[in-house]
């Protein structure tokens, strides 16, 4: 029998899961994350560590940087990639997403449309990364985990995320349509 036509293959691997299933799974696994690592789920924090490790690998030093000055940050950097739960989790997200695309046979190298698209992606990535670090959290650490921790800051973040998305949409329509 052709696996493509198998009902369970289509249900689990081929078709997108519903938003509700996604929401329930994210909620359950953020509890598992908090219980096992003693930290709420965060995504952009470990990327800053990746940057620090890369910078060290080419001979730089972040020891005097205010961002990495706390004892905890220094211990994480000294411990390395495989001792940092957040780094392993981020790697898992990337590998998992790749696996999901492969299992659905939807993997594809996408062509780059224009220089403008590249410029916007690079600029957007830098702004998001910088913003996430000076806000001490991204959509996940500040918004998702903030609200899950019953913190008011998560809701404040949500309000300004919404305003930012509105401004961003206007810019998108103006420059990309």
């Amino acid at each position: 029998m052709d696996i493509k036509n198998n009902k369970f293959y289509q249900m689990w691997f081929k078709n997108a899961w519903t938003y509700v299933v996604g929401a329930v799974l994210l909620s359950l696994f953020q509890i598992v994350t908090l219980a096992t690592t003693n930290d709420p789920w965060g995504v952009s924090g470990p990327f800053a560590n990746w940057g620090a490790w890369l910078y060290r690998a080419v001979g730089g030093s972040v020891d005097k940087w205010y961002y990495f000055s706390s004892k905890g940050a220094q211990a994480t950097l000294a411990g390395g990639f495989f001792k940092d739960a957040g780094s392993i989790r981020n790697l898992g997200v990337i590998v998992g997403a790749l696996l999901a695309a492969l299992l659905a046979s939807q993997f594809k190298f996408k062509k780059i449309k224009s220089v403008k698209q590249v410029a916007a992606a690079v600029l957007g990535g830098l702004l998001m990364g910088y913003g996430a670090r000076i806000a001490a959290g991204c959509n996940i650490g500040a918004l998702f985990s903030g609200i899950a921790s019953l913190s008011l800051s998560g809701w404040v973040f949500a309000l300004f995320l919404f305003l930012g998305a509105m401004a961003g949409s206007k810019l998108l329509v103006k420059y990309f349509m």
Binding site: Q106, F107, K110, L172, M177
Partner: protein, 76 residues
């Protein structure tokens, strides 16, 4: 005479395919078919969802690994 118009959204990420679809459909006449070509799986969800909510007839075809064509027949 109803016509079929292709809309190339290959390599575009959300929400660009959806906004392009909305704009392209405005220019079509009743009964015309818009064929949206996408390779972004989120657009495969939000473009048909929007079009069905608007009341158009929608069909999706997977043309290759990670590539789809969304057929939208303008009904109003």
């Amino acid at each position: 005479m109803a016509k079929e118009v292709a809309l190339d959204c290959m390599g575009e990420a959300c929400p660009v395919p959806l906004i392009k679809t909305e704009n392209a459909l405005k220019k079509l006449d009743l009964g015309d078919v818009l064929v949206v070509q996408i390779d972004h799986s989120c657009a495969m969800k939000n473009v048909p969802e929007w079009a069905r909510k608007e009341g158009h007839n929608v069909e999706i075809e997977e043309v290759d690994d990670g590539e789809w064509e969304i057929f939208i027949e303008k009904t109003k």
